[in-house]
Symmetry: D2
Subunit: 306 residues, 4 copies
């Protein structure tokens, strides 16, 4: 018995659809690597293709077959890396839909990184969020790669206010301005601090490579201090001192990220699109504070050189 192909019918309303596909697809991803253990992740994917006005439906199972074909290939070939996975799948989807002109694939995943506590050197792990998004047409394939990492931030404004108040309090004690300044230099000044979440993504043509681990490092370096899974007492003291020595607004964190991206990614083209965002889970408010830059790398290069 031949089963009917309803998707190939002409629809009543002939409007082009921007995208048709599947979302929330969880996949066990295993990627071979040249000399290391394979990377193994459970990732969530959205995969879609445009649909021309003359066709009632898209063949959604082809998207899933495209994904599985790429994943099977990735087990054997160390060439497919987590950074290029979405682009590979998007190209495969485009190939399999003769009526489609533009394929979209996005991914969210968690990724474990080995770490060491800053003083005790105790080994621990950090699980960060990574994401990617590829768009494939016959002409070009763009690939966005990003990471989201937690850290801590201390507020420069409240710290300045506290310093002012300490100065006032100490001046009652017959100390000179120099003595007070010297004292304040030796003391980490109190201020509110909080958990912060930094995100950087960069969108480039697929022939350029953006290493996720470099994005993770830039995000960590931009907050007041890194944070850790395990902190013994001496580590905790170190983190607090570092954080209170480096107060940062959300604005400062984003600008630091942008500055490092401009310095480190000199091999990327001007049209690369950079998105850097910092969200502070404010400890003195119920809501969050955030700052964000979304700009092409060429413009950021120019701003930085001014």
């Amino acid at each position: 018995m031949k089963l009917p192909d309803v998707q190939a019918d002409r629809p009543d309303i002939t409007v082009d659809l921007s995208r048709v596909g599947v979302s929330g697809l969880k996949k066990h991803v295993k990627l071979a690597r040249e000399q290391n253990d394979p990377v193994i992740l459970i990732s969530e994917f959205d995969m879609s293709i445009n649909l021309p006005s003359y066709r009632k439906g898209a063949n959604l199972s082809r998207n899933l077959e495209a994904m599985n074909t790429v994943l099977e290939r990735a087990i054997d070939e160390p060439v497919v890396e987590i950074e290029s996975l979405c682009a590979e799948v998007a190209k495969e989807i485009l190939d399999r839909h003769e009526y489609g002109k533009k394929a979209f694939v996005s991914m969210e995943s968690e990724y474990a990184v080995e770490r060491e506590a800053p003083v005790s050197n105790q080994k621990s792990q950090e699980v960060i969020e990574i994401f990617a998004e590829a768009v494939a047409t016959e002409e070009e394939v763009s690939n966005k790669v990003g990471a989201r990492v937690k850290g801590t931030t201390t507020c420069p404004c409240a710290q300045e206010i506290m310093a002012e108040k300490i100065r006032e309090s100490l001046s009652e004690k017959d100390l000179s301005k120099e003595e007070i300044d010297d004292l304040l230099d030796r003391i980490p000044i109190a201020t509110h601090n909080q958990r912060g979440v930094g995100t950087i993504s960069i969108k480039v043509p697929e022939e350029y490579f953006v290493p996720i681990e470099r994005l993770v490092e830039i995000i960590k370096d931009s907050m007041s201090s890194e944070i850790f899974e395990i902190l013994k007492r001496e580590d905790e003291a170190h983190v607090v001192e570092e954080a209170f020595d480096n107060p940062t607004f959300v604005e400062d964190v984003v600008r630091s990220m942008v500055s490092d991206v401009v310095k480190d990614f000199s091999h990327l083209p001007d049209k690369a699109v950079v998105n850097a965002k910092q969200v502070n889970k404010e400890s003195i408010h119920s809501h969050d504070a955030f700052a964000e830059v979304k700009s092409c790398l060429g413009d950021l290069r120019q701003e930085m050189s001014n």
Copy 2:
């Protein structure tokens, strides 16, 4: 004692920030209405402003004051409606940041609508999601308004396959093709169906008004059947019959939405941006299926007239 204004300092890295603000702010919103009871909602807001390169920080508390000013006004003046709230706040934020050129406000909320079951007419409620997003500059204020509504969809493809299988099975019984067709006409043919979630948003200059309740109706009409809080047995039969009489792919639902938007919103300008999306929580897969149109109204009008 004068407290320092650290935000006004010059930053070390002088890069423009696209937006700086607060997110996840929950507010109790009360809107006066000409003749009806006031609308009362708890909504979640993001509010932000661009920050020029020469300024270290934005004054975030001004965003919150802007919000509260508008909300106080809204209690007295029936002119502020849920559809225009974000635009009002965005303008107020722009006014309060002398260094800012572009203010952004977005909102997510829940909204209750009175309903009646289709046969028993039993009264019930439906809580839908609504959202809005405004961008204000000195030159113009754009306002996006949207709604997200659940319904049910039945699959046309599986229904055709089932019809084919029934035809084959009945043909063994010495029935003519006409008799079989007549039988099939009297029977709702089985197929998988599922909970679907439809979303429409329209972005327009603030002087145009997009009534949320009309978006809700269009979404409901585009799926195989509406769904209800309370269904007595006779209502349940009605919903099932209607759903199985109107099989729809995600693609069909989106095209129906677009078609209704083009018909109903003839007063909107060509540059209005329409985003229509349908997500089916597939009952035969763990993942979802979706279709989406994002296009300006002018282009959709042209496609529909072809």
Copy 3:
């Protein structure tokens, strides 16, 4: 045509079910009040009833009708309060299922409270989470009522370590121990702080009343400082000073909550069940820290009196 009642059939497998019902039901709740404006909330409900082994299915629409009956009554009668709503619905559900012996209703909601900044007295709001859970049998109705509130906590351990380090650093400066102690008394000592979330619930027979607003106050008082929607600079200084003067572990916060509950709820019976929990969104870790007490009030009274 008479429609079949499949639920009333005998099932193949005759096992008692602990509960059968609906979950994730969103309702617009409006409660009349003696002299004030009505309270209006959108709440999410679960409602269920036990099912004896001899019955195939429960009549789920009766749960929804029970809810609507109570909500209609609540619009007119100021007697139904948010604290007693679940108990009222549970009793109504029990009444409507002749085969059921135990009805369960739970609710989650958001609730807005008016607030004032601590120094500037600027008016703002706070949206807190409230929840309730009632179980009704013929013999008794129990009612659990709770609230979840955000605040800030400063770490006593890191603060002691920082004080030790400051002492060491100042001792190089030829200051006496007394002079150093006097200095440290005048300075808020730096330590990591973070957003904390406190929760208290109390389960009592329905004839006892547990006012949600009192739970909210106890939670606020137990953390290092309250937090606010809007803080002008002078308010921010006040919050930071208060927080750094009152360092608290998650353990301290829970013990303070328990202590206040024992003091304030002397009218409740010994068998009242108290659950107090504090979660700190650690600013120096990716994970959270938490402490929890779950105990009957009688035992807590005895521990407190030791």
Copy 4:
């Protein structure tokens, strides 16, 4: 410099705490296996210990060290399985807190299973949720293990109503009751169906083993039909036919789960606690329907033998 140990102080309020610990800890878990590839997962853990009234704080970093010790051991020893991981960690935590008497560890994770489409045999995957919870005291260690799996369910009530309506419609056509019954036997009768989520957990003393994969199979078998990642047209027809041949209420699904658990786990003791729950993401309502059994195995055995 010796750093102070504030946690060891005596607190102001001397109340026992039920548990103190860390939550939301994400860990990369790698488990060796006798003959297969290791299992690799990213899991989320909560880990806590009771705290006696005389101690101000618990040493939280010891929980993390306990976890890491067990995970390192699990890389080398195929004996540690995903089912016993929480129990191993709970025992290690108890060992490391000389002041603690009861340790708690819980885990949530995703787990990928290889699958085949029912007709085409096309290979695909399924990612399911698994969870575990262990409580360790000196006397005993209890271990709860569970799985959560999606499937599809068709409604028996609406199907009976539809059959009745078809009977009425066909009776106008001069067909005998026998002819109508024969026709209805050959036709899958339409009814609403939906995505369902089944969960089973079993809590036992740690010396008993509950294989997660057996729980997954029982859940799958209890719904109207399994669901799949990839379905070609012939597979889709098969799933729809199977689902419409096996209509099930949430109540039926739970009873089927319980029945299979009683049959398959004859080696478990009567005091094993079984929790079986089915949630249907209703396609004709915005809310969900659910049924649940929570009972000890001994009681279920007795009910089943009646």
